[in-house]
Amino acid sequence: MSTAHESAAAPALEMKDIVKSFPGVKALSGARLRLFPGEVHALMGENGAGKSTLIKVLTGVHPIDGGTVTLEGKSITVGGPLEAQRLGISTVYQEVNLCPNLSVAENILIGREPKRWGRIDWKETNRRAAGLMERLNVKIDVTKPLNHYSVAVQQMVAIARSLLIDAKVLILDEPTSSLDANEVKELFTVMRKLKSEGLAILFVTHFLDQVYEITDRITILRGGEFVGEYLTKDLPRIELVAKMIGKDLGALESLPKTEGAGAKRQAEQRTLLQASGTGRRGSIQPFDLEVREGEVVSLAGLLGSGRSEAARLLFGADKPDQGEIRIADKRVAMASPRQAIDNGVAFCSENRKTEGIIPDLTVRENIILALQASMGSFKYISRKRQDEIAEEYIRMLNINPPNPEHLVKNLSGGNQQKVLLARWLLTEPKLLILDEPTRGIDIGAKTEIQKLILSLCEKGMSIVFISSELEEVLRVSHKIAVLRDRHKVTEIVNEDISQQHIMQAIAGG
């Protein structure tokens, strides 16, 4: 079915020779894209390849420097997102771009609120929003403000919003970066339906599995340039990756298989962190958790099961009001992040936009921030040392553009995530809590990071790991704590760790 439109129809949308520069960076040069009605089209490329920029240029967020855009054969210039919507282009941008202060229902419907007697009909608004969320199989109270929910839920809300627009073209920029398998499944069901209705869908993701599951065609960008357009079925994985990073790759294969690796080391390790009865009213019920030195403990669970909440307690981001936490057998109050850091605990939040990056500061400043904070105000890391550190981590994590003086807000999403990882790795904590650390990071860098994590463990660092990507969890963990409905239900260790086992535990079997 996918080749049908090759001859049949003209593209719904075509972008040709797109050029876009930002001060000091050429984000796009000669990028191309064709979208046909009734297809799901993957836009692939490394972090910073220009995918999001291409989308923003298309929807008029950034003015275009050169090139043409045609929609259904007509050449168009889009003045802004509002105009794009009017033209039938519906977009979910990377990162959650919704209003945290408004209710979920409003976020979905604002701009298109149902009216009655000339005024907004709130009942109907809430009803419709709830209906839409249900269609995505997310059952939440839509009258609560958006910031009440986790990033994953917010992503679903953004998707729900985009579905509402009467669109010819649907653009999804990494909508699945923090979604679990279940939600992805729901999303794909919806996408398939829309596709069959003749919608052209552009889908950006770093998950190859998803690409092969849902897309019909792939466009690859590299360094802002067009590499090629391929039918998904004709392009094997290895080749796809090679085309994305521009060289042949053995990296994927070279990943160490650590499943069960923890088994032999576990017995001799001392306990680093011991949480007993730790909990916080209204967010997570008391739980026990033991993390040993050099161990990777994963928290697994469904959307909103309380993984992030648990992690935040361990770091003091929220103050636990029950139970106690011991680190290296010393009782620690964990009243603030500061205290946690002083005790060698670090935490990389899942919410990089609001809890991670300091947007107006440079890459260098963002990287050294946590280290500097732990050193205090007056022991200033010399500028020379800062530059060295920045250089080192930019190289190590392949941050692009490799300019330490770039403002972090101008980096691509994946590169921002790398900066955050760099920030915490630099502090060399005893326990590193990573909440969705590889969110939005491209396939090449992801393996690098996983390798890095494992090598750090080998050196004795402990890690608490949260990821919506089960495969990743399986690959790195020594122990998995499963959460359901905001309390810890079970622990799975060592040889018991298997996909099926976890799935059962999560689902409550």
Partner: protein, 324 residues
Amino acid sequence: MSKLRIGSQFVPALVTMVLFCLMFLAASAQYTGFFSAQVFLNLFIDNAFLIITAVGMTFVIISGGIDLSVGSVIALTTMISASLVEHHGWSPMVVIPLVLVIGSLFGWVMGYIIHEYQIQPFIVTLAGMFLARGLCYVISIETITITNETYTAISQAKVPLPGGNYVSISVVLALLVVGLAIYLAHYTKFGRNTYAIGGSESSALLMGLPVGRTKILVYTFSGFCSAMAGVVFTFYMLSGYGLHAVGLELDTIAAVVIGGTLLTGGVGYIAGTLFGVLIQGIIQTIIMFEGTLSSWWTKIAIGILLFLFILLQRVLVSRKAKAA
């Protein structure tokens, strides 16, 4: 209000109302003559213009901006009204709509500059503040007394209430504006867009909301409210004067913020603002009933009362938020 979600955001506004009632009762116990309906109604009579200004300001602050020009626009409105009515013999029926248009236009221009040239609202409206007050002096340095019958009649008219109490026409106008504003804020696209922009302007833009138009409209509305307040102020003072309402912008901002609106934008309720104004009014009234304070102790006492109130509000809000 029942259809509105009473979420945690509503707590500050609610706490403000409760605290207001407590303050009123406490003062009634302390001062003879305080506990009367008329004293309560006087809060409205004396602060009608502040209520109206604060309503406009609430929109601006919810959108994440600020408007420093309100006091000056009030002065300018009184000045234009007085000069046209007294010196040029225009009819109030023409003058009042005219000044409302002028005020709105003034706000529109500021909004346009803020949005179109991406200049911080603080500085644009500060320039607006200088300009409006400067224009007053250009019209006349001296105060212009209004003797026009329509104005004096409206000014002295009493809307009788049961029990021999009364309010002024201005109070009715102010309450109408409050009602309109609540409707605008919660039941129109304009209002919701304002909240959205305050929550996150860049998101609102990406969500395809008319950010520019809404922002400009918000300042226009604030300009309109200031002019409306100016009209009410003219009834109240029966004069035009360049030094009217000096420093009112701070009172207004304080009232809005006390009412639970966040200066960072996105959160706030008109009803909260109304009580914010009343809180300020009651602090004033308490001090006047006290009647033994010297000028400096007056200021210190205002500061202390404000502090106590805000502290209580803060404690209660964080307690409630935790419980929720």
